[in-house]
């Protein structure tokens, strides 16, 4: 078995607001997906992230470190949440990624994790 990161991507800055009709629809879908992951023994960890504007970056500079306002990547798309799953191979992980993308209605990136 191997660990994979399923990350959820948002096109733009998003609000964390659970009262919108969209959030009301997606919330239960994601909940059901999480339960399915847990029942299958594929769940390792998952959570949503606060918006990218809340990010702070610490980076080495010379001998020291500097702390600056984030996010680090100046991209229009930012990671909004993630799952870490346990799957036997790429095809099984892709099947979970399909279900994740359907549940959260956003693009989901699948990436294998290093075996540490």
């Amino acid at each position: 078995m191997a660990h994979y990161l399923l990350s959820v991507w948002h096109d733009d800055e998003y609000e964390v607001d659970f009262t919108t009709p969209e959030a009301q629809r997606i919330g239960p879908q994601v909940g059901a997906f999480n339960e399915e992951l847990q029942a299958a023994g594929a769940w390792v960890f998952a959570d949503g992230l606060m918006p990218a504007s809340s990010a702070t970056v610490v980076k080495p500079q010379g001998d020291g470190l500097v702390v600056v306002d984030g996010p680090y990547a100046e991209a229009k798309e930012q990671m909004g949440g993630f799952w870490v799953i346990d799957a036997p191979d790429l095809d099984a992980a892709l099947e979970w990624a399909r279900k994740a993308a359907r549940a959260c209605e956003q693009p989901v990136e699948l990436r294998p994790m290093q075996v540490v």
């Binding site: 036997p88 191979d89 790429l90 095809d91 099984a92």
Partner: protein, 420 residues
């Protein structure tokens, strides 16, 4: 002798690599071992002669070399274990002969199918799928593939290395996809083979207009796929389409190397054997009653092949087949081809009306759209507009044979425009 070895290599390299990947569980190791085995064959076969089952000889020799290498390099425990596992496997380990070899190659067909699905995994970009397919299943060397696709050798090498690494890092499974995944996965395999053929058939640039090797390799791969999936009508449809298209090759260029339109081709120069085989395959797959895009395109090619001259073409049938294809595959390119067929059936004005209804934005960078439109405008007596459309088509065309054809047509249109 070296020709014979080259033949064996062409025929067996993909098969041997496919089996060795399963046995060794590693693509690079399998490739290196197969290459080493062929090097041994090149040194030995001139004296001993080609063995009765050369593929099995190569596979077994490659496997033995891989075991030796693992032992030599085994600094890590898992490598010891891997070598140990190999030795306990059910493959013959000493100089292989007769029955042992037959038992060994019996398991090979499935391996090749596994490898096709691995190379064409949807996690890989199409250009990587194609490169990996040619490298692992076609046994082409990286410089050959780079030349065929007109990219620098380093670019192609990196593309192949990255694709292999992605499959390894992601733990891509080496198996035939489950029934549920199969339709989507098969589409990717068919598309990759079609892409290899198209690249060979209609080079997008470079002086050699038709790169025969790639077309032939695509036909060979389609044949292998049909052998491995005999109940898959779309695989048969693809093979039929490639054969019927390739049959026209001897008539596609004139003495000056300019492209000859389908309507102007000397049909006596079409390859009759390929036409006959393509026809038989079209009939065989359509009988199954599960038409798909490749079967319908093959059926259209078969209607053209049926006509002794362009004037004899049953355009009504072609339009009907395009209508069916458009329902299965509603794409602007299919709609363009349908409009062109419609013009043949009902005249250039009807064709231009159909073209005007197409998604012009989607087709604006597609040279055949402008070339087709230019041709119809010229036939409809709208020469000045035809010149503009030919200019746009020329801007988008790099293939020298196609450029020569378009330039000549443009000159005709310009002369007509001046005459009026």
């Amino acid at each position: 002798m070296s020709d014979e070895l080259a033949d064996v290599f062409r025929r067996e390299a993909g098969r041997c690599t496919a089996t060795l990947i399963r046995v060794l569980g590693d693509v690079d190791l399998a490739e290196e071992a197969v290459a080493e085995a062929f090097a041994i064959a090149a040194a030995r076969w001139p004296e001993t002669g080609v063995p009765p089952n050369p593929g099995a000889w190569i596979t077994t020799t490659a496997r033995n070399r891989a075991i030796d290498r693992l032992r030599r390099e085994s600094t890590r425990t898992d490598r010891y274990l891997a070598a140990h596992r190999l030795e306990e496997g059910d493959m013959p380990s000493d100089d292989p002969t007769g029955r042992e070899l037959d038992a060994l190659v019996e398991v090979v067909p499935d391996d090749q199918l596994r490898l096709m699905f691995l190379c064409c995994h949807p996690a890989l970009a199409p250009e990587a799928q194609v490169a990996l397919t040619l490298r692992l299943l076609g046994g082409l060397e990286t410089p050959e593939i780079a030349r065929a696709f007109l990219v620098p050798e380093a670019t192609m090498a990196q593309r192949i290395v990255r694709a292999k690494r992605k499959l390894r890092d992601n733990h891509a499974p080496y198996r035939i996809p489950s029934a549920g995944e199969l339709p989507e996965r098969l589409r990717a395999v068919l598309a990759a083979i079609a892409l290899i053929f198209t690249e060979g058939h209609r080079a997008t640039s470079g002086d050699e207009a038709v790169r025969t090797d790639l077309s032939e390799e695509a036909i060979r791969l389609a044949r292998v796929l049909v052998e491995l999936m005999p109940d898959e009508p779309e695989a048969i449809g693809l093979l039929a389409l490639l054969l019927l298209t390739d049959a026209r090759r001897p008539a596609r260029f004139d003495a000056d190397g300019a492209l000859v339109r389908l309507s102007d081709q000397d049909r006596s120069r079409w390859d009759r054997a390929k036409v006959a085989e393509g026809h038989a395959l079209v009939r065989a797959c359509l009988r199954r009653g599960r038409p798909g895009p490749y079967q319908l395109q093959a059926a259209i090619a078969a209607v053209h092949a049926d006509a002794p001259t362009a004037a004899d073409t049953d355009w009504g049938q072609v339009v009907a087949l395009y209508d069916h294809l458009l329902r299965l595959q509603p794409s602007p390119v299919v709609a363009l081809n349908r409009a062109v067929a419609l013009a043949e059936r009902d005249g250039p004005d009807a064709g231009l009306v159909a073209l005007d209804e197409l998604d012009a934005a989607a087709l604006d960078r597609y040279a055949p759209f402008h070339a087709s439109r230019a041709g119809l405008l010229l036939r409809a007596g709208r020469a000045a507009e035809a010149v503009t459309a030919f200019d746009r088509a020329l801007e988008l065309t790099t293939n020298p044979a196609e450029r020569r054809f378009l330039s000549a047509e443009r000159a005709t249109a310009a002369a007509a425009a001046h005459g009026t």
